[in-house]
């Protein structure tokens, strides 16, 4: 035994210890990559989806749009270990091709996905579907579930105005930026969902959870020090009266057309019906793509928002506008009588002549013809063509004040402007100085090139209800607790001020319903004022139109009804509009016979 041998052993022990300490220094302090890898390993970043804002009806209690929970099954391609592919596919009810699609999508860098990152495996499962596959997920520990809320529509109404939300497209993702949206996020695609996306959306939160090697969650990471809470979207109060909406939709269930009701004193839309419509729940949840395709291909066009996008000739509903413009331009004498000259334009009813009042009451076509003639031949030139052109331009300018041929600015996307012909149009169509009153007189009857949306029709009802002004129609009253944020909706838009004239106009409109063309709309308890219209339709049966407001004094509701191919305004749109008014003002329908008649829907013999 030599001392130096023990010494060698001592040296060896010290050397090994020093080597260990140096090695530890390298991997613990110099090399920082292990810290990242440890995070990747054991800490999972989960997105906490915010609760999308709810949309209430105008009474703040009933929900037009609510939320329910759905489950997204997530997976990371890199971590997915499948032992038996056949069994795997069977467990989740997927075909090989479907799984391949999911995989390719999950690895698509263009969509912001990656082989190393979690992507959606099965989207939007209902609570029931999730319960069914829950036990199968145990075999694939790297998969996990994100709970998200989807839209839910308790009364399944107003689909077209509410719009829908869907997974963000690549284009939108590029447009709105990665800081606001991520692939797989949902975004409002149309209707109020799109218009108020910013308010409804809320803000995503992030949660860091610890997961063990089997993918099982083991509590929050560092007691949630780096977590951010999701901020719920703001709830919105709509101007819609849910009961009225449901009732109007019921009346329109077998029809094609629109019903828009407005509170004249504010411009708030009370109901907004586009028919035929669809159950908005169809576009919430995992059946979205399938249902969307189906709706998109439906020949009755349920996705088409008719009140905003449907364009119709106004027919006789245009006459009161023309008379008001005539008054504005000083060419209307309300006492003047014109013969009901049916050789010029045909007419209906049993009257031989008409003054302003009866002209409106019976919708006398020759009366309208003569008034329009006075509007277009105003002696601005000795040349009839020049006179017509100059008068026409002034006429057009004043008609525009009624909100025609322009977007009203409702808080919904895709509003159409409608159409009023222009000098340029006629010059091109007939040739310069080759058109006069006789060429374009049908405009005076609301026919010809003139086109309007049902929303504009309802707004005209509101203008007469208000005796000469309107507020821009809109669908949202409050955002959270804040009364509507849009200044333009508080602005009074004056068309014309003449209380004497409007008194006679309103009286005439009251007689339209009481004893004129719209007697079917008459009510014993409510004094309804309105004007019918029957728009000639070159493609088929006439469209039935009606605008009205009630009660006569201090009107609470103005309404515009368009029913495609339903014949006369008097027999279809007028009774339907009258029922909607009754429902709103009285809360119930006493005239059940009328309701039955409208629901039966046989307007044309």
């Amino acid at each position: 035994m030599r001392e130096n041998k023990i010494f060698i052993l001592q040296i060896a022990i010290v050397c090994i210890s020093v080597i260990f300490i140096i090695r530890l220094f390298v991997i613990q302090i110099i090399d920082t990559s292990y810290k990242e890898e440890a995070m990747n390993n054991a800490v999972r970043r989960e997105i906490v989806y915010p609760y999308r804002g709810i949309i209430f009806d105008r009474n703040d209690k009933k929900m037009l749009v609510a939320n329910t929970s759905v489950y997204d099954v997530m997976f990371t391609p890199k971590k997915l270990k499948i032992e038996d592919t056949l069994h795997f596919l069977k467990s989740f009810g997927l075909s090989k091709e479907e799984f391949r699609q999911i995989w390719v999508n999950a690895c698509d860098k263009k969509k912001g996905n990656s082989y190393y990152k979690a992507s959606v495996f099965l989207p939007t499962l209902s609570t029931q579907d999730y319960a069914r596959i829950q036990e199968k997920l145990v075999n694939y520990p790297s998969m996990y579930v994100n709970v998200r809320s989807v839209r839910n529509y308790p009364d399944a109404c107003m689909a077209n105005a509410l719009g829908y939300i869907a997974e963000i497209s690549e284009g939108q993702l590029a447009k709105y930026g990665k800081e606001n949206y991520q692939p797989g996020d949902f975004i409002g695609f149309s209707g109020l969902e799109k218009e108020y996306e910013k308010e409804l959306r809320g803000k995503r939160g992030v949660k860091y959870v610890m997961v063990n090697v089997h993918g099982v969650e083991k509590g929050s990471f560092l007691s949630g020090r780096y977590d951010t809470a999701s901020i719920a979207g703001v709830d919105i109060t709509s101007t819609i009266d849910l009961d009225l909406q449901v009732y109007a939709e019921k009346l329109m269930q077998n029809q094609t057309g629109s019903v828009v009701a407005i509170e004249p004193s504010t411009g708030e839309i009370l109901c907004f019906v586009s028919a035929p419509t669809y159950d908005p729940n169809m576009l919430a949840g995992k059946e979205f793509s399938k249902n969307f395709k189906k709706l998109d291909r439906d020949s009755s066009k349920p996705l088409y928002c008719r009140p905003l996008m449907g364009l119709y000739p106004p027919g006789s509903t245009f006459k009161p506008i023309n008379y008001t413009v005539a008054k504005m331009l000083g060419v209307l004498d309300t006492n003047q009588v014109f013969p009901c000259a049916r050789n010029l334009v045909n007419c209906h009813g049993h009257h031989s002549s008409a003054n302003f009042h009866t002209g409106v009451q019976y919708s006398c076509n020759p009366y309208a013809y003569f008034v329009f003639k006075k509007l277009l031949y105003r002696g601005k030139s000795s040349n009839a063509f020049v006179d017509t052109r100059l008068s026409f331009e002034e006429w057009r300018e004043n008609v525009m004040k009624f909100g025609l041929s322009q977007r009203l600015g409702i808080d919904l996307p895709s509003e159409k402007a409608g159409y009023l012909p222009t000098t340029k149009y006629y010059n091109k169509y007939f040739g310069e100085n080759r058109w006069a009153f006789e060429t374009i007189y049908s405009l005076g009857l609301g026919q010809g090139e003139i086109l309007e949306t049902p929303l504009q029709l309802a707004n005209i009802g509101a203008i007469f209800a208000n005796r000469g002004y309107y507020y821009t129609p809109h669908l949202v009253k409050k955002i959270g607790d804040k009364v509507t944020n849009r200044k333009e909706y508080l602005e009074k838009r004056i068309v014309y001020q003449d209380s004497v004239f409007f008194r006679s106009m309103v009286n005439a409109m009251a007689d339209v319903v009481r004893a004129g063309t719209a007697t079917m709309a008459r009510s014993q308890v409510i004094e309804i004022c309105g004007k019918t219209g029957t728009a000639e339709n070159p493609h088929g049966k006439d469209h039935s139109l009606f605008f009205a407001f009630a009660p006569k004094d201090n009107p609470k509701i103005a309404i515009g009804v368009v029913m495609e191919n339903a014949g006369w305004g008097a027999t279809a749109a007028a009774p339907l509009g009258s029922l909607v008014i009754e429902k709103y003002l009285r809360g119930e329908i006493k005239r059940t016979y009328l309701e039955d008649y409208v629901l039966k829907g046989e307007f044309i013999e």
């Binding site: 035994m1 023990i6 210890s17 530890l24 991997i27 613990q28 292990y34 890898e37």
Partner: protein, 422 residues
């Protein structure tokens, strides 16, 4: 041979006992942290958990230690062969009636408890070897004595190897180191041959045959260049090259015979990044756990990699990961310093022993503990291949804690009794 109470307590090396208690206590805390479940929050004393069980092992170990310290050292000397023989019988019995855990048929089940006799064979072999040395205290060892020594070491090695517990069997190479340190004529050459074989082992795992052949030829040429004066050297060099090549083939033959998971572990050690989710998993995860600890660590119970099971065997063979992750470089440094102090203290004690028996036994204790320490920590930080052996006093496990306690306790007893031997 009577000793008074006073003599006994003052002659015991309390420094060693203190270091032992400190390591056992720290081990216990880290076992609790290693499998701590943040969602369930078990108490450290919960007997259904590893930390609670370890507390039982610690308690019984302290009782064992006390008993061993109270036993007259003469009894130990006399009983050496009997204990050795008894343990060998148990090892044989394990081969017949043992239970297989993790691929090794090395466990005995007694009621609720599982015992790994291979652990106990370490101290019995050390005892037998020391006794043999003591009996042949003449300077010159007879060849038959040397042969007997080899037999004493190789019998348990063979049995443990047959059980499939390669890690424990490897520990016995330390006895050869002791032999070379103790035996005059076993010195020099033995260490050199061992080193050459060791190097060749690693190289032959890393290189294909052609590369290896080229290396051997170059080495041979270099040796010849410096020693070309004597024909005898030339023959020796040729012989050496032949042995090296032969060893290369034998290593590959052995490797081919290893179980697939063992082969993979060796390959993964050479390049863990090759297959980080497969064979390299242990090493990769272990390094991530330790590496993520940083300078001061994540704090007690705050580690994520160990308690969330990313590191396998985190409370037994990979217990060092918990230290590295939760207590960082500082904690690792302190733990290594504690072991270093223990080893150096034990070597100091070895130096002051008067009998060959205690000297040899002491050396056996130091080398065995040192081997465990080196291989265990080395594998967690990627310096050694993964070999399933525990960190002494620290890892979870009754058998290993008992075995190390007995191993150390006997030496403390021998040291405390050294003045009585005159």
């Amino acid at each position: 041979m009577y000793r008074t109470e006073d003599d006994f307590t003052t002659s015991i090396d309390w420094i060693t006992i203190g270091l032992y208690l400190l390591l056992v206590l720290l081990g216990w805390l880290n076992i609790y942290a290693a499998t701590y479940d943040p969602e369930v929050n078990y108490s450290i004393f919960d007997l259904s958990q590893n930390s609670g069980k370890q507390l039982l092992w610690i308690g019984t170990s302290l009782v064992l230690l006390t008993i061993i310290l109270l036993v007259d050292f003469k009894v130990i000397d006399i009983l050496s062969y009997i204990i050795y023989g008894f343990i060998i019988l148990i090892l044989v019995y394990v081969l017949i009636a043992g239970v297989t855990v993790n691929g090794s048929k090395s466990w005995l089940v007694i009621g609720e408890f599982r015992l790994q006799p291979a652990e106990l064979a370490k101290f019995s072999t050390a005892l037998a070897l020391s006794r043999l040395f003591n009996q042949n205290s003449t300077k010159q060892l007879m060849p038959d004595t040397i042969l007997l020594m080899y037999a004493i070491i190789c019998i348990p090695v063979a049995l443990i190897f047959l059980q499939g517990d390669t890690g424990s069997a490897m520990v016995y190479t330390m006895f050869f180191v002791v032999l070379s340190l103790m035996g005059e004529q076993l010195s020099g050459v033995f260490v050199v041959i061992g080193l050459i074989l060791g190097t060749t082992l690693v190289i032959s795992l890393l290189m294909n045959f052609t590369a290896f052949l080229v290396l051997v030829l170059i080495m041979g040429f270099i040796f010849y260049f410096f020693n070309k004066k004597k024909i005898k050297n030339f023959i020796f060099i040729l012989l050496g090259m032949g042995i090296a090549l032969g060893f290369y083939f034998s290593v590959n033959t052995v490797i081919d015979r290893l179980k697939p998971h063992q082969q993979n572990r060796i390959k993964a050690f050479i390049n863990p990044d090759l297959d980080p989710l497969g064979a390299g998993w242990n090493v990769t995860q272990s390094k991530i756990a330790i590496g993520s600890g940083g300078f001061t660590g994540k704090g007690f119970l705050e580690g994520t990699q160990t308690k969330l099971n990313y590191v396998p065997e985190q409370h037994t063979d990979f217990i060092f990961c918990t230290v590295g992750e939760e207590h960082g470089w500082i904690g690792s440094f302190i733990l290594i310093a504690l072991y270093l102090s223990l080893f150096l203290r034990l070597l100091f004690l070895v130096n002051r022993q008067k009998t060959k028996f205690s000297k040899v036994y002491g050396l056996c204790v130091v080398t065995i503990l040192f081997f465990h320490f080196t291989v265990n920590i080395g594998m967690t930080i990627g310096l050694f291949p993964v070999v399933g052996i525990p960190l002494p006093f620290f890892s979870y496990g009754g058998s290993s804690l008992w075995s190390f306690t007995i191993l150390l306790g006997i030496f403390i007893n021998l040291d405390a009794s050294r003045r009585l031997v005159l």
